[in-house]
């Protein structure tokens, strides 16, 4: 392989100390490499620690064992090469859409007069050119995600980390956002690590789909290459025969884990 590895998780283990002193192992020995320009989706049942793994790649969490390498350098502290798209609303509520996008540049020391026109350009490219003066609470959930996407992309990070970014949106908006993401990604092909619980979304978007087992101590249990041609249209690709074959194949593995995860979460609820 000649393409450099953007993100490498090397037997990363994530554990938390619980309130009563016991140690809860969320993820066990995760080994995963994302090449430059590669779009990798992580799929797993609820509570399998896939978001945790993303936080490790972001440097927000330190692995209990193993390591993280970003472009072949060990990661210490926050991952400065990565942009992070959160599942929950992460915009600054006291800033307008335009200021929310511009802040990404202003932090780096770009003068405001330069940052604002660029922010306006990015807002336009996510389809919100006319909403620059709105505050986050005046935007719909989908529009807020668009602003968040512009906020992350304006910094031109080499790596994109996405934590179920379209999770809170309705089905139609998700597909529209998926296409928007693919369009923007196609322009310069950053390395993407995309966490979702939606297998269809994962196959439609990604080059590789990675499956995690149900938690606790979840592991990576499968890795499929998606060879559907690009550029893709999310609406179209779902009708493809190859899409269906792949979906059936991955689902046969994922299904057991989903049932296990579901059983565990109900047991846990009963125990409480």
């Amino acid at each position: 392989m000649t393409t450099p590895t953007a993100v490498a998780l090397e037997d990363a283990k994530v554990a938390f100390r619980l309130g009563d002193g016991r140690v809860y192992t969320a993820v066990e020995k995760a080994h995963l490499a994302v090449a430059q320009g590669e779009f990798v989706a992580i799929v797993g049942p609820t509570g399998c620690g896939k978001s945790t793994l993303l936080n490790v790649a972001a440097g927000l969490l330190k692995p209990a064992a193993g390591g993280v390498r970003i472009f072949d350098r060990p990661l210490a502290g926050l991952n400065r090469d990565a942009g992070y798209l959160f599942q929950a609303d992460a915009l600054f509520p006291w800033k307008t859409a335009l200021d929310n996008v511009a802040i990404g540049l202003e932090i780096k020391g770009t003068p405001r007069t330069e940052a604002l026109p660029q922010a306006q350009k990015w807002l336009t490219s996510v389809g919100l050119g006319a909403f620059a003066g709105r505050y986050p609470h005046m935007l719909s959930g989908g529009q807020r995600k668009r602003v968040a996407l512009a906020q992350v992309l304006i910094r031109d990070p080499k790596i994109l980390l996405m934590d179920e970014p379209f999770g809170p949106l309705d089905a139609q908006t998700r597909q529209v956002m998926g296409n928007l993401l693919l369009d923007l990604w196609n322009a310069d092909r950053k390395a993407v690590l995309f966490v979702t619980h939606d297998l269809e979304e994962a196959i439609a978007l990604a080059d590789r789909v990675v499956i995690m087992s149900a938690g606790p101590s979840s592991r990576i249990i499968g890795d499929w290459r998606v060879s559907l041609p690009r550029p893709r249209d999310i609406f179209e690709v779902r009708l493809d025969k190859e899409f269906h074959a792949l979906h059936r194949e991955i689902w046969s593995v994922l299904k057991d884990e989903v049932m296990k995860g579901y059983a565990q979460s109900t047991h846990a609820a009963e125990a409480v």
């Binding site: 959160f86 609303d89 992460a90 600054f92 006291w94 932090i107 719909s140």
Partner: protein
């Protein structure tokens, strides 16, 4: 209900109350005046007292003093509250150590401090400012403390991932969050600043609305007491309106309750 109807009804309440007051304090009912003028005065006397104050211009000096005391109490108390609130929220150890003392001081009815402040700072405006500060400080302090502590985890993480330094987090995340909490208590804290000033004046001073009321009371001039009260409430309503205007300007980014989208 349309706005004019509502307004008409609101005015009606005032008219009924004033007419009742005037009638009951001047016209005998079954040979007896129900509101003896000595205790209740009457609206006409109260009104002429107010007119006399404004016509002669004496009231402006007193209003000016009370306003100055309120503003000083508000500014100093808010500043202190913001600084200490920030400090405590960012240093949990300091907050934990001082916690019982903060609670103790806050539990104290502030009126009992007035004689001490008069003793320390004299009968001029500063003893009243000090009393107002003790009231304003705690409201602002608790709100800012809460505001800084309850910054959304996701928004903070987002700031960090966007590359913010601690200083930038302060400027773009903690500070606006704390300020928004402070502004949400603006009405209360401004109100308390006025209370501190007036109570301080009432307990010992040479000028201000509280002084005016206390003087009238001292000579059993009930009309003067009521006149002072009316001027005082009009004063507070005007200030409160000003606060509403400021608030609307500063908190445009906040969803209002009727917004639905939250």
């Amino acid at each position: 209900m349309s706005r004019p109807t509502l307004f008409a009804l609101q005015v009606l309440v005032a008219v009924v109350c004033i007419v009742l007051w005037q009638v009951l304090s001047t016209v005998p009912v079954f040979g007896k005046i129900l509101l003896p003028p000595f205790f209740f005065s009457n609206p006409f006397d109260v009104f002429s007292q107010i007119v006399k104050w404004f016509a002669s211009g004496v009231i402006w000096k007193h209003l000016g003093i009370t306003l100055a005391e309120s503003i000083l109490a508000f500014v100093i108390g808010s500043l202190g509250g913001v600084l200490v609130g920030f400090w405590f929220a960012r240093q949990p150890l300091v907050a934990a150590v001082f916690d019982p003392y903060v609670k103790m001081v806050n539990a104290l009815p502030r009126v009992v401090l007035a004689p001490i402040f008069a003793l320390w700072l004299g009968l001029g405006i500063w003893s009243k400012v000090a009393l107002g500060v003790t009231l304003v400080f705690f409201i602002v302090f608790f709100n800012v403390y809460q505001g800084v502590k309850e910054v959304s985890r996701t928004v903070l993480d987002n700031g960090r991932m966007l590359g913010m330094s601690e200083r930038q987090l302060m400027q773009h995340v903690y500070w606006p969050s704390a300020l928004s909490w402070m502004f949400s208590s603006l009405h209360t804290s401004v109100g308390f600043a006025v209370v501190g000033a007036v109570v301080g004046e009432y307990l010992g001073s040479a000028a201000g609305l509280g002084y005016l009321i206390q003087q009238a009371e001292g000579v059993f001039d009930v009309a003067g007491v009521f006149a002072g009260m009316f001027v005082l409430s009009a004063f507070v309503i005007l200030i409160d309106y000003g606060v509403t205007l400021v608030e609307r300007r500063l908190l445009v980014w906040r969803p209002t309750a009727s917004d639905g989208r939250g």
